[in-house]
Amino acid sequence: MTNDPTTLPAHGDPVLRVDNLVKEFPIQAGLFRRQVGLVQAVSGVSLDIHEHETLGVVGESGCGKTTLGRTILRLLEATSGSVTYKGESVSGAPNSRMRELRRHMQIVFQDPFASLNPRMAVRDIIAEPLRIHGESRAVASARANELIDAVGLLSDYGNRYPHEFSGGQRQRIGIARALALQPTLIILDEPVSALDVSVQAQVVNLLEDLQNEFKLSYMFIAHDLSVVRHISDRVAVMYLGKVVEVADRDSIYDRPSHPYTQSLLSAVPVADPNAERNRRRIVLEGDLPSPAAVPSGCRFRTRCPIAAERCSYEEPEMQTLADGHEVACHFPLSPGESLIEVAAARGR
């Protein structure tokens, strides 16, 4: 089973280490595209992903989760910070070495309609990375056929074109292409969000099977917390460019320490009318602040029901709690403590 913790290495170097990664985008305006500001989409993120592990990354739109994935693979160049793959610096790798490293680190995109070349047959789409990396046409084609089979498509689909396929089938094609170079790490950016509910489960199961078969590590980026809980071993929660909490999947869902994690979880609708009737939902006030004008101190404080004065001038450092949660909050919730009650006790 994918999620059996005994299969995870307790020690050893991580496959991927992200250290204090920052990605800024300039805000340009006017005729001469003068820079008038900066957006920090990713703002000092540090994470590890171990062998055969799935790290879920969740957050709402604008939290920087997609930019994080792309910056790790250097599809976007980082502003600062470092990414290491099995001890080797990805950030400093020259282009020739980077091409080699990309064999090991692949990405699957959200939109299965935009990420496949409509003019290429499916077999050629899957074989393309192999051809780029110098395999002969025959070898690449044979490998593509194996992959078509591995992702559960019929073998004669290789001659067809993307428009002939449904969303779920296209996502399988995208996954097959990502697997072509036998990577160890795949960044999955919202891989099932565009799919119908009944088809999502097929792709989630496929990803789990492939992970076991090829000993893959996943970074699973998504906004759907139920899917993330299902597939992940550990979960990182992001808010406005920062990781606010990281913990094991059960632990973070059962005992969320950060007020944002608890609010996010309480907002997820559950397909169970009785559970919905009995639940106390934390409805956060207001909207996500603009990433171009982040609040001082703790970025969540403008919506946090228990924010204190300290939160407005001092940015919380990431700390490790007794139960193993890493959390960036001045007033983390203890296990079993409810944000609603804590807020009520403080008269809010």
Binding site: V197, L225, S226, R249, L264, P269, A271, L284, D287
Partner: protein
């Protein structure tokens, strides 16, 4: 028994396309009672949105439409455009997925709401603006007095959704049709908007026809549920009947394929094999037949009728194997 707010009676909708006729909705019948939340659930191509758009008569001219949509004692499909315009907004109001499709980007938000008020009520312009601010306040827009003078682009996504709800309830409609109202929103904003919809409904007494693919949203807000697949109603009943005592293989399959937040560690999802039917070339017989674990030869020959489950007629399901389903479900559980 009170009169339903709206009755769909044997509604069928077809569109001509370059590739042939698409029969998007087939013989759909259901009622929405006053003050209730009725959810129509389905995946892409199920016909759920087309059903709702037919009620508002918001479909292209080339559409072939049969059956009746009864509202306020008349068939909406048979009345003139002028009369229909009076129904829209006053009798039935719509909440869309993307608020920017409903809001005019070059008009102040207050002016748009005031315009709605003025078409219905004979009040002064000043009075209409005051009402606009009150409406914004009632849907939880802070500083309504300042916000009425802003343009839609100055509102965030969640606030725009609120402004659209304010517009929709401006004339106290009997029915609100909400087409995927929270799909484009983040979960924390989605929770706010659902709360606002509930509050607005309690304040106005309007019934809500909610079109969505999200079973979580349905569980949180719906009194009754219609499950659609391949253009047909596959199951209908109270939320409890459909969620806890479903008598339909498709509904069951849908429920077991969604990951649950409270699922035990390591539990594997049970997907429905295959893909939703091709609307241009639907399977013969039961639309779900090719994906159904319980289908036999007869299922591929003709589609089943929607039949009552139980005795009070509140729970209905479309399946050839209705009588055997309890045993089939039980056998599948133990496998």
């Amino acid at each position: 028994m009170t009169e339903p707010v709206i009755s769909f009676d044997d509604l069928s909708v077809s569109f001509p396309t370059d590739d042939g006729m698409v029969r998007a909705v087939r013989n759909v019948s259901f009622d929405v009672e006053p003050g209730e939340v009725m959810a129509v659930v389905g995946e892409s191509g199920s016909g759920k949105s087309v059903t709702a758009l037919a009620a508002m008569r918001l479909h292209p001219g080339s559409t072939e439409i049969t059956g009746e949509v009864r509202f306020g004692g008349r068939d909406l499909l048979g009345i003139g455009e002028k009369e229909m315009r009076r129904v829209r907004g006053n009798g039935i109001a719509m909440i869309f997925q993307d608020p920017m499709t409903a809001l005019n980007p070059v008009m102040k938000v207050g002016a748009q709401i005031a315009e709605m008020v003025l078409t219905h009520d004979d009040v002064s312009k000043k009075e209409a603006w005051t009402r606009a601010a009150d409406l914004l306040e009632s849907v939880g827009v802070p500083e309504p007095g300042r916000r009425v003078k802003q343009y839609p682009h100055e509102f965030s996504g969640g606030m725009r959704q609120r402004a659209m709800i304010a517009m929709a309830i401006a004339n106290g409609p009997d029915l609100l049709i909400a087409d995927e109202p929270t799909t484009a929103l983040d979960v924390t904003i989605q929770a706010q908007v659902l709360e606002v919809m509930k509050t607005a409904q309690e304040a106005t007494g309007a019934a809500i026809l909610l079109i969505t693919h999200d079973l979580g949203v349905v569980a949180g807000i719906a009194d009754r549920v219609v499950v659609m697949y391949g253009g047909r109603v596959f199951e209908s009943g109270s939320a409890d009947q459909v969620f806890y005592r479903s008598q339909n293989p498709y509904t069951r399959g849908l429920m077991s394929s969604i990951p649950r937040l409270d699922a035990p560690k390591g539990e594997r999802l049970i997907p429905i094999p295959g893909t939703p039917p091709n609307v241009l070339n639907p399977p013969s017989g039961c639309a779900f037949g090719p994906r159904c674990a319980f289908a036999s030869d007869g299922c591929h020959e003709a589609h089943a009728e929607l039949m009552s489950v139980g005795f009070d007629g509140t729970h209905r399901s479309r399946c050839h194997k209705l009588a055997e389903l309890p045993d089939l479900f039980a056998a599948a559980e133990t496998r």
